[in-house]
């Protein structure tokens, strides 16, 4: 009997929630990002040694290891490595020559991946933080054929060097460094393994110490210290310790960049080269580029960067004698250029990318083998707004000349660009991977009209009329272009191909993101494939992270609040231009007559303060118990329109919602206890409206919370008890003025209520559900008027997904332990079940994998049915949601051909039938029976 009703309810719910197959890849957009690639962990490599096709591998600053197809820039595979430790830690990515595996090292973990599909081969945990990782290229007959062994060096109390089997990851030998020196790097030649240590002298200088190890047994065979007198104050001026080259070297400079000192590892001699500034400014940065193959020529390039120009020198090493000599110079070029090394057999090639050209030279002579102009008028590289930061290149050689060069260049704007013979093939907006805060900005064209209309409404009739006439004259001038565009527009609208650029529905909002490295980046939701604008908003020192919040200030304007400038700064969302404080219209809709109460988290305490002439007065303080600390504070969104103050029940009675704009949800925990307390607060009076406490909570798992309208939701991971199950749980609560229908409780008679004067307590209903996985962040959809039902958006970090849970499923009024009555059925309530399984149709991202999402923001569109969603963190994902189905626009299911065919068929039928009917009518008159 009830089954059909369930089925009907589910059928009613289904179409409103699911992602439709025909909208799935068009309405939503997704940038599968890797993060900013690092020079040392980015390279071209062939995943299948027998095939010539290569992929670009990188381990980014955000801790993502992945492979990118150089043809189209698509991600082949990627993994977010567990980066729970310090973010600034060093990371490594290595691939052995002609190997089908790549080895990554981050934190304390070494992982070997299958190069083609990203499956894991083996994992190895080093005892402490990893210092260096290398592939041992030598073949000594002991290594498993095919898989080359890995050398890893770890720091900590007992620094060690380990050799790991290339096929299984098992430790073959381990060498403990007992001398108390700081491990720095590990390197290998064809016959020996070198451990490079930094020895701190009494005077605070650093001396480089080299330990030679037997690659087979790991036993120490030799040890020496380089006489790097008093010039090494920090390890930062050590340029490189080449590994896996025919003749590995150590190179360093003094802190003033006057002399370059080079030692061929294994030889005790140090060769000095004075740094030639070529008549310009002294270099600010010196880097060394060398091939990573033992079979390559022992040549290397030293790249000097001064403030305004770049130059380079190429050196050759005589492998037998260990002699280093300078071969040739590469000329100084104004502006930034980047160098990269590529190999082909034994030959070594250096590719230089400047802002308008790409050159390739062989390491043996300075003759240019290939030169291409960067032909891209639109690229930020050529228009001078961005400069190349670093590049990796792959050359194809035909005979003596270089036939093609592919360079993956990271630009200072955070774009990763592939140049094939100078022409851009693709760009990846990797800058967005570092987004820390983002906000929707309403497009200003829409607001312009609103402003004009407002001007007419608020001025005297005569001037308003003049204004209106002039506006209409201005509009008439646009008519010819509108008319000429009309046929095309019809065709587009009819075929559903492409948009005509206009944004009547408000779908093309601009999203402004602030990244941790000080950039502001804007993306247009209507054309999400390219970046609208990008600018460096602040200059940060290295390692500094921008603590910033972006908010929508006014239509077309965003406000940026950071820890650097005391006052917020304003930016035009469509152009990125900074706007003065005075040009921003005050958006405080609240009249300043009432007493304003602010609430802030200060030193781990929650205060409510009032602003007065004498400064800030504490109005209330949340009394934390002993050992209680605040986990999170979630206020009700500022823009949270509610269409109805009550819920209409099945019998047409009303249950009144407790609607208070000043609500916040506070989550606290207790030191040393696995316990979480949840409070719903009135932020004006500081009163606790609802509280609950949960024990046996896994505090390492995320605790997400959200608050909207008159309901809240939070989730946690709980350990099993005798009564409770183990797993992830979601709690949903709803606040009502009273639980009796048609009754407003104590507020019945009042027209105005002050939170400070009255102490009305809402009645709260809650229900708890068991959910299949933990929710790392929650958000709620927003629509223009709040008429559309809401959806709870939950980020599932384990599934790399975002689900939209319909409000009806998590209604706390679902009847428990009984079937719903007729009235409840009419309301859409169905029986409570303790488990909510996330239906795959709820996945907003469907088959896309949205990695590393930290937050989801929502914004109303102009259409009431639609809420815009934008998720950021690592990946960027955006879509449009219609939680109550698109009731105010024609969806893709509306078949225009069918409609026209029906009209045509009816017209034909009318023409055919009309004479028949006429004849029949005449016959009726004249025929008598």
């Amino acid at each position: 009997m009830l089954l059909p009703i369930y089925a009907a309810v589910i059928l009613l719910l289904r179409p409103a929630l699911a992602v439709f197959a025909d909208e799935a890849w068009t309405v939503d957009y997704h940038h599968a990002l890797l993060g900013l690639p690092k020079q040392s962990t980015t390279f071209f490599h062939r995943p299948d040694p027998s095939s010539r096709a290569s992929l670009i591998y990188t381990l980014s600053e955000q801790g993502v290891v992945g492979a990118v197809n150089p043809r189209d820039g698509g991600v082949v595979w990627r993994h977010l490595l567990n980066s729970s430790r310090d973010a600034t830690q060093s990371s490594f990515l290595r691939a052995g020559d002609a190997q089908d595996a790549i080895v990554s090292g981050l934190g304390g973990q070494v992982t070997a991946f299958s190069a083609a599909d990203g499956r894991v081969d083996w994992q190895h945990d080093v005892p402490d933080a990893l210092v260096d990782l290398e592939i041992l290229e030598l073949e000594d007959g002991r290594g498993t054929p095919g898989a080359k062994d890995t050398l890893c060096m770890s720091a900590g109390q007992h620094p060690t060097v380990q050799r790991l089997d290339g096929a299984t990851g098992v430790v073959k030998w381990e060498h403990k460094i007992e001398s108390g020196d700081t491990p720095y790097q590990v390197s290998a030649s064809t016959t020996e393994v070198f451990a490079i240590l930094l020895h701190k002298t009494v005077l605070g200088y650093i001396k480089i110490k080299v330990i030679t190890l037997d690659p087979v047994t790991g036993r120490k065979t030799d040890e020496y210290t380089l006489s790097s007198e008093n010039e090494l104050a920090t390890a930062e001026t050590i340029l490189a310790v080449g590994a896996n080259s025919a003749s590995p070297i150590i190179a360093w400079t003094d802190s003033a960049y006057k002399t370059l000192r080079i030692n061929v590892i294994g030889k005790k001699a140090i060769v000095d080269f004075p740094i030639n500034t070529l008549g310009g400014r002294p270099p600010q940065r010196v880097t060394l580029h060398a091939p990573y193959l033992t079979t390559s020529l022992a040549h290397f390039l030293v790249h000097y960067q001064s403030l305004d120009s770049d130059w380079a020198e190429v050196y050759h090493i005589d492998v037998k004698t260990g002699r280093v000599e300078k071969a040739y110079d590469l000329p100084k070029i104004e502006g930034r250029s980047s160098f990269s090394t590529s190999t082909n057999g034994a030959n070594v090639y250096f590719t230089r990318v400047t802002k308008d050209q790409v050159f390739t030279v062989a390491s043996t002579s300075h003759g240019i083998l290939g030169r291409w102009n960067v032909d891209s008028p639109t690229s930020s590289l050529t228009d001078g707004t961005a400069r190349p930061v670093h590049a990796v290149s792959e050359v194809s050689v035909k005979g003596e000349s270089v036939s093609a060069v592919r360079s993956a260049v990271l630009l200072s704007s955070g774009e990763w660009l592939l140049l094939r013979n100078g022409s851009p093939q693709w760009t990846r907006p990797e800058i967005l991977a570092g987004t820390v805060s983002a906000a929707f900005a309403l497009p200003s064209e829409v607001s312009d009209l609103v402003n004009e209309l407002q001007e007419e409404a608020h001025s005297n009739p005569v001037s308003a009329y003049v204004h209106r006439v002039t506006r209409h004259i201005g509009d008439i001038q646009k008519l010819p272009s509108l008319l000429t565009a009309l046929p095309q527009r019809f065709v587009h609208g009819f075929l559903g191909t492409g948009s005509d650029g206009s944004d009547t529905f408000g779908f093309n909002n601009i999203i402004v993101s602030a990244t941790s490295d000080g950039h502001l980046v804007a993306v247009d939701a209507g054309r999400p494939s390219d970046i609208l604008w990008s600018s460096a908003a602040v200059i940060l020192s290295s390692g500094q992270v921008w603590k910033v919040r972006v908010e929508s200030a006014a239509p077309g304007i965003v406000r940026v609040i950071d820890d650097i400038s005391p006052m917020p700064t304003f930016f035009n969302a469509s152009t990125g231009a900074a706007i003065g404080d005075d040009e921003v219209a005050s958006d405080s809709a609240v009249p300043n007559t009432a007493v304003e109460v602010d609430f802030t988290l200060k030193d781990g305490q929650l205060y409510g303060t009032t602003a007065s002439q004498s400064g800030h007065n504490d109005l209330w303080q949340f009394g934390l118990q002993k050992g209680e600390t605040i986990l999170s504070l979630t206020p009700r969104p500022v823009n949270d329109p509610v269409a109805s103050i009550g819920k209409v029940l099945g019998d047409r009675k009303v249950l009144y919602k407790y609607l208070n704009p000043n609500l916040a949800l506070l989550a606290t925990t207790y030191a040393g206890q696995s316990r979480v307390s949840i409070y719903v607060l009135n932020t004006v009076s500081g009163a606790i409206l609802y509280s609950n406490s949960h024990r046996n909570i896994d505090l390492a798992a995320p605790i997400a919370a959200t608050l909207s309208e008159n309901w809240f939701a939070y989730s946690y991971t709980a350990e099993s008890t005798s009564t409770a199950p183990k797993g992830h749980q979601l709690v949903v609560g709803e606040l009502f003025e009273s639980l009796t229908s048609n009754d407003r409780g104590l507020l019945d008679a009042a027209t105005n209520v002050s939170s400070l004067a009255s102490s009305t307590q809402p009645l709260t209903l809650t229900q708890t559900y068991h959910i299949p996985e933990s929710i790392s962040k929650m958000s709620v959809t927003q629509t223009r008027q709040g008429i559309t039902s809401r959806q709870l958006l939950a980020v599932l970090a384990e599934s790399n997904a975002i689900v939209g849970i319909p409000r009806g499923v998590i209604d706390p009024r679902r009847p428990v332990n009984r079937e719903p009555t007729k009235d409840e059925q009419a309301e859409g309530l169905f029986r409570y079940t303790p488990v909510i399984d996330f239906d795959p149709k709820w996945y907003l991202n469907h088959r896309r994998e949205v990695l590393g999402v930290k937050d989801v923001i929502t914004s109303p569109a102009i259409l009431e049915s639609t809420s815009l969603v934008y998720a950021y963190g690592l990946d960027v994902f955006g879509t449009r949601l219609n939680p109550s189905f698109n009731f105010d626009m024609l969806g893709k299911d509306f078949n225009k051909f069918q409609m026209l065919a029906t009209v045509a068929a009816l017209a034909v039928a009318t023409f055919v039938v009309a004479p028949l009917v006429q004849r029949k009518q005449i016959n009726q008159r004249w025929q008598f029976t």
């Binding site: 030998w173 350990e719 079940t833």
Partner: protein, 244 residues
């Protein structure tokens, strides 16, 4: 040589102190005919006591390996982009009070039930256990539009009713004529039948409808009887037909 031997001993010692669990995904048609097609983001998570969580990525040989697990009761979940897996319970317990060995048991478990409510045992072993876990279903992300379907359109009750009434309206007269011819009714019966139709409920209803439609207000007010207005009906009906 001695060092490598020592390392082996060390790893062996580690293996004794902690149990190893290997989960393999066998080919399981029709849901997953070839496990090599699983994306590399597929991973397994063991959730232990608060704060303890182990993650194992999918390996080349379609397995998840948890190399060293301490004694605890774990919730095992496998996350994959395209396939759904059931939750499992993994218990690592000491085999005997004095023994260093550990028992590894894997059961089914059910969400929304107390933790002690275990399902069937999937596998059990000492120190090292390998179990096979199959996906339960493919994830279906997409809602198909109910496109235009002629059969479904014709099946809908509204259309059926409409079609029936159309058939009645157009088909009945022919049917009547044909049935007359077929049955060869004698003229008396036919007359009777026609009489009956005229005075039948439909005829009455139609005359009632006609009388309402052609309601003669002036006549009604001037006290004309219903029978006289009924007599006026044929002409009024004719007028109606003309309008049409």
């Amino acid at each position: 040589m001695r060092l490598s031997f020592l390392a082996t001993v060390l790893t062996a010692a580690q293996a004794i102190s902690a149990a190893k669990l290997t989960i393999s995904i066998p080919p399981s048609p029709p849901v997953l005919p070839n496990p090599a097609t699983l994306p590399s983001s597929t991973h397994a998570v063991l959730l232990g006591s608060p704060g303890i969580k182990h993650t194992a990525p999918l390996r080349r040989d379609n397995t998840f390996v948890f190399p060293s697990l301490a004694e605890d009761s774990y919730l095992l979940t496998i996350y994959s982009r395209d396939h759904a897996f059931a939750p499992y319970r993994v218990d690592i317990t000491k085999a005997a009070a004095a023994s260093a060995q550990q028992d590894v048991n894997v059961w089914w478990t059910y969400r929304g039930n107390e933790w002690s409510n275990k399902g069937p045992l999937l596998g059990s072993g000492q120190d090292d256990l390998r179990v096979e876990i199959r996906p339960t279903a493919m994830k279906d992300f997409y809602q198909q539009r109910g496109g235009f379907n002629l059969v479904g359109f014709l099946k809908s009750p509204m259309i059926l009713m409409g079609l029936v009434s159309v058939v009645m309206i157009f088909g009945m007269p022919y049917l009547m004529e044909n049935s007359e011819a077929l049955l060869d009714l004698d003229p008396e019966t036919k007359k009777e039948f026609e009489e009956m139709q005229k005075s039948g409920p439909t005829a009455q209803a139609s005359s009632a409808v006609d009388s309402i439609q052609n309601f003669d207000l002036a006549g009604f007010l001037s006290g004309k009887s219903a029978s006289s207005s009924g007599a006026a009906t044929p002409s009024a009906a004719g007028g109606g037909a003309k309008k049409r």
